[in-house]
């Protein structure tokens, strides 16, 4: 890729508040036209990074480039990026139209042009009939759309979104996801989206940066970080998983690894990194890649007892107690009605499909 197609280039950015380090030396290149998500639990530094790009926080060390131009020393109003704020921050004394026109006026567009453009933006977010209302007369979802229209109106090169959906209820949030995604495609603007909601991240993003404790944990597309998590944090934070400590018994050069769990069971796992006999590793097994089989099948399955079954609509989660105090969660689709649902206390066996178990890299 050419350097000029990188929209935001964060180089060795550090943010400290006194002795507290909010962001540890982080580098990140975000492509033009990309729907890029910063994902992590609260306090992981994702919002800090977003605010550094917007200009609300100064960088302690490092640089931030926007299309090759260094912007980290510019005040917020001199950066050609716009933000959708978490609680929208709409100007309460202005009408919806005045809110959307604000950025255009500040950029020196004449009133008529600004009005026309603001009208288009309101059309884009389906609020054409609300131009004359005050923000307080709108619902949360409508306010959210106004905030989006206001931030898009000045045609920023990059749009920053700080947990924009977190204040909405579930149905609205799901509807807004696909709407945001299609607006991003339509406008061709680079979106940098901050969220703690992994489902939001997985469903909308081209690429996701998983962050924790001020560090970048993994960078990749949704499938990457879900199926090939680098470390225990990512494996645990994204989706649900069974994590085990294990010892490597044998490793072949193609990435096949034979491991032994603490309770003596052996697991065939896949590894992206070279392993040697005797290494202590972490294994991740996604619950949906495991299956319950008859207790006496006798071919590498792990015997156990059903401890708990949880019905969650499409799926059922079964917690199986293995020997040695280990527990394992198995997720099965309820559409498969070929076998009777196991009851608590039943003796069962758990089998995984090939590659279900992965060796984590940390």
């Amino acid at each position: 890729m050419e350097a000029d197609t990188i929209a935001i280039d964060v180089r060795d950015a550090v943010k400290r508040y006194g002795t507290f380090t909010a962001l540890e030396r982080l580098s990140l290149a975000i492509q033009d036209n990309e729907f890029f998500t910063l994902l992590g639990p609260s306090g992981c530094g994702k919002t800090t990074l977003l605010r550094m790009i917007a200009g609300f926080e100064e960088v302690t060390e490092g640089e931030i480039y926007l299309f090759g131009r260094e912007i980290d020393q510019l005040p917020p109003h001199a950066r050609p990026v716009n933000t959708v704020f978490q609680n929208y921050a709409l100007f309460p004394h202005m009408t919806v139209l005045e809110n959307v026109m604000f950025g255009l006026e500040m950029k020196g567009r004449d009133r008529q042009e600004a009005q026309a453009r603001a009208g288009q933006m309101l059309e884009l977010v389906q609020l054409s009939g609300f131009a004359g209302r005050k923000p307080a007369q709108l619902s949360g979802g409508q306010q959210q759309r106004v905030a989006l229209a206001r931030a898009l109106a000045p045609e920023p090169r990059v749009l920053l979104l700080d947990e924009p959906l977190s204040a909405l209820d579930l149905k609205l949030r799901q509807a807004m996801r696909s709407e945001l995604k299609s607006i991003q495609r339509e406008t061709g603007i680079t979106f940098i989206f901050v969220t703690h909601d992994q489902e939001e991240a997985l469903t909308m993003s081209d690429r996701i940066a998983v962050m924790s404790a001020g560090r970048l944990q993994q960078l990749g597309d949704a499938r990457d970080i879900y199926e090939r998590p680098h470390n225990t944090f990512v494996a645990d934070f994204i989706g649900e998983t069974n994590l085990f400590e294990a010892e490597v018994l044998a490793a072949d050069p193609n990435g096949g690894v034979s491991c032994r769990l603490k309770n003596g069971l052996t697991v065939e796992a896949r590894s992206e990194r070279p392993c040697a006999m005797g290494d202590r590793v972490h294994l991740s097994l996604r619950p949906e890649r495991l299956a319950l089989v008859a207790a006496d099948a006798g071919n590498g399955e792990w015997p156990g007892t059903v401890r708990e079954t949880i019905f969650i609509g499409t799926d059922t989660q079964t917690v199986v107690a293995l020997s040695g105090g280990l527990e394992l969660t198995v997720r099965t689709q309820n559409a498969r009605r070929d076998q009777a649902a196991p009851q608590v206390g039943d003796a069962v066996a758990v089998a995984g499909d090939p590659g279900a178990a992965r060796v984590l890299e940390d």
């Binding site: 109003h77 604000f102 000045p154």
Partner: protein
């Protein structure tokens, strides 16, 4: 109630109204005795005839208002002309009060903004400092101000001492001295309501404005000030109204030439030289003016409030 609500609901409603009235009674009594009754008394007095030793004769008369607005010559038989003396005093008072209000706003807004943006645990200290002068009686503070400003006072001694001036400024007994006195007396009334408004202000709005390419000044003008406007209006009313009726600062710092309404009214009720109906009439004119100004000031405020509802 069309829904045919059981009687119990209505009983509860009337009981609630009864409780509310009983709880409000003390407020109504206080308001009635210290606000409404005195105003009503002044209104009645302003239409009575004056008694020469002070006090009133209970006989209806328009003379007080006539004297305020019209000049009928020394013997009272010339054709009436507009009497400019009192209108002039009123006019000067309004100017002085308006100027004191603007000055307080110019100094008070940045002060309030500064305090409201300090860390939460130090704000109380700043507010305490603002209110400290109020521990001393206004009369004493005004007299002290006169000592500070007079020709042999510390201010002039300092300015002459460092060679900035050859002769003292001669501030006392000028409009400027009155202005300084009013500004000093009522500044905290400007700071406190604006502080309360700025403290409630959502600073994310300033960030949003900066994000949308507004400079700091534009953000202040287009976003911060409109958002804290109720506080600014409250502060302006709290400074303007008492400044308009003030008599300590004009009396002590302004001398005889710089009479304001407050002094004019005060004179009418002092000793045997006074004229009670005239003082009452001047009070009524002042009250009417204040009401008109308040309604004018409160109107845009009320509109903003409706928009937010």
């Amino acid at each position: 109630m069309a829904g045919g609500a059981p009687g119990g609901v209505e009983v509860r409603a009337t009981t609630y109204a009864g409780v509310r009235n009983r709880l409000l009674a003390p407020s109504w009594i206080v308001l009635g005795t210290v606000v409404l009754a005195p105003v009503a008394m002044m209104l009645v007095y302003s239409f009575l005839t004056k008694e020469f030793r002070g006090g009133v004769i209970w006989q209806f008369s328009l003379e007080a208002y006539d004297q305020f607005f019209f000049d009928r010559g020394l013997f009272g038989d010339d054709p009436p002309r507009i009497e400019w003396t009192y209108i002039g005093i009123f006019w000067r008072s309004i100017w002085q009060a308006a100027l004191a209000t603007l000055l307080s706003l110019a100094i008070g807004f940045p002060t309030a903004y500064f305090i409201a943006t300090r860390p939460a645990n130090t704000r109380a200290i700043w507010l305490f400092l603002v209110t400290i002068p109020y521990w001393v009686n206004l009369l004493i503070r005004t007299v002290s101000m006169k000592f500070l400003l007079r020709d042999e006072g510390p201010l002039n001694n300092f300015l002459v001492g460092i060679g900035l001036l050859d002769t003292p400024l001669g501030i006392v007994n000028t409009n400027l001295a009155v202005q300084i006195g009013l500004f000093y007396s009522y500044l905290p009334f400007m700071v406190l309501p604006i502080y309360a408004a700025v403290e409630r202000y959502n600073f994310a709005l300033s960030e949003a404005a900066a994000d949308l390419y507004a400079s700091k000044w534009v953000t202040l003008r287009r976003v911060v000030i409109p958002a804290v406007r109720p506080g600014i209006i409250a502060g302006c009313i709290l400074v303007f109204v008492p400044s308009l009726g003030a008599f300590l600062a004009p009396d002590l710092l302004g001398g005889a030439k710089n009479f304001m309404i407050g002094s004019l009214i005060e004179e009418q009720f002092k000793g045997s030289a006074g004229n009670w109906p005239f003082g009452a009439a001047a009070s009524m004119v002042l009250l009417t003016m204040v009401l008109v100004i308040l309604i004018f000031l409160a109107r845009p405020n009320a509109r903003a409030g409706q928009g937010r509802a």
